[in-house]
């Protein structure tokens, strides 16, 4: 077939429209979020003193860190779905949640006596934190990967990692509204590896599924 002939066939297909990548991501995030949210409400549910908890700086900091991570991951995913977006720049968005976490950890170390640090870091719900994030994240991750398949990422692995980070941050945000361990030290010790593991899973899946 000549290239001119192929061009004719392609041009005749000009009218087929599909959804913009950003719209697909939004739909996937909502659908995955709904499934994860339903699962969360059915099994764990929010802590009952959520209103009072929000008045404490530790709980507020925990939620702020996770929401910043969610926002950074969403921003990175929306960029990485395009072939002309650089992975490095997109992942630089992570500086915001990392800076918030560092600030919170610094405040905790300054405000609490050093002999209380191990207890604050280990907390009581470490294992529940890991398993909850592992169980709440697959549905959003799968939905996001499906959405990203319509895209054209320069680096499929990086796009998958961003989707994993987004799914992990979503799962972590849900779980955090249940958990009583609010110390930034606990966040650093448990949430960070849990979210990072989901991001790694996303990178592995992405480098297989997101080629185009």
């Amino acid at each position: 077939m000549s290239t001119d002939a192929l061009i004719k066939a392609i041009a005749e297909d000009a009218g087929t429209m599909s959804l913009k990548p950003a719209r697909r991501l939004a739909i996937a995030l909502s659908a995955g979020g709904l499934v994860a949210g339903a699962l969360f409400v059915a099994t764990l549910g929010m802590r009952l003193d959520i209103g009072a908890a929000l008045q404490t700086w530790r709980f507020a900091a925990k939620m702020a860190i996770l929401l910043a991570c969610l926002a950074a991951a969403l921003w990175a995913s929306a960029r990485l779905v395009r072939p002309d977006a650089s992975p490095r720049k997109a992942l630089a968005a992570l500086a915001l949640p990392i800076a918030l976490l560092a600030l919170a950890v610094g405040s905790e170390l300054a405000l609490s006596p050093s002999d209380s640090w191990p207890l604050r870091a280990i907390g009581t719900n470490g294992r529940l934190c890991l398993t909850s994030i592992a169980l709440l994240s697959p549905a959003p991750l799968a939905a996001l990967l499906v959405a990203l398949r319509a895209g054209a990422p320069r680096s499929p692995g990086a796009a998958g990692a961003a989707a994993g980070l987004l799914a992990g941050a979503l799962a972590a945000t849900l779980y955090a509204s249940h958990c009583f361990d609010d110390s930034p030290l606990f966040v650093a010790l448990w949430y960070v590896p849990a979210i990072a593991a989901v991001a790694l899973a996303g990178a592995a899946a992405g480098s297989r599924l997101l080629r185009w």
Binding site: M1, S2, T3, D4, L6, A9, D13, A14, R82, A152
Partner: protein
């Protein structure tokens, strides 16, 4: 491209025809750098055109057009170098610099594409051949085959997707 995204066949056709020589230069340069002959150029060009088409939603209209084209072309070039057993080594720094197209020699035939078209299923192949080689419009094909125009368009879109996939999975 904006008109094409709004579904205007004629301006889309013109755009693709203007892009083809540019892509040809890019592919030629990339293949030459890896000591591959020019017989593969047209296949890379066709694969890139299909990718530009099927992934055109990933162009953000607020961004410049040529870096996006270059990024797609680069990715497809890397793919085809890998399939041909080369370790791709392409500078990333000339992003946004599309080379000017060359004068067009007579015919450009892709070796792969002939085989690809043969791999399409009956109806889809008929439609692609009628539109691409015989130059029919979707409406004319619909009348000839006794289908609705919409069904022809759906089949055409599917056939293009199948072609792109065949390029991706077929060894050279």
């Amino acid at each position: 491209m904006r008109a094409a995204i709004r579904g205007d066949t004629r301006s889309y056709h013109r755009l693709l025809q203007e892009l083809a020589p540019v892509l040809r230069r890019l592919a030629g340069r990339g293949l030459a750098r890896h000591k591959l002959g020019s017989e593969d150029i047209e296949d890379v060009v066709q694969e890139t055109l299909l990718a530009l088409h099927l992934k055109r939603d990933t162009w953000d209209e607020r961004q410049a057009f040529s870096p996006w084209v270059y990024a797609i072309a680069r990715n497809k070039l890397i793919d085809s170098l890998r399939r041909r057993g080369r370790r791709p080594h392409l500078p990333i720094d000339d992003i946004g610099e599309l080379p000017a197209g060359e004068e067009r020699p007579a015919e450009f035939n892709g070796a792969d594409a002939a085989r690809m078209i043969a791999s399409l299923k009956g109806r889809e192949r008929e439609i692609v051949v009628a539109i691409s080689i015989e130059g029919a419009s979707a409406r004319q094909v619909a009348e000839r085959l006794g289908m609705t125009e919409g069904a022809v368009r759906v089949a055409l879109h599917r056939a293009l997707k199948a072609l792109a996939k065949a390029f991706r999975t077929d060894p050279p």
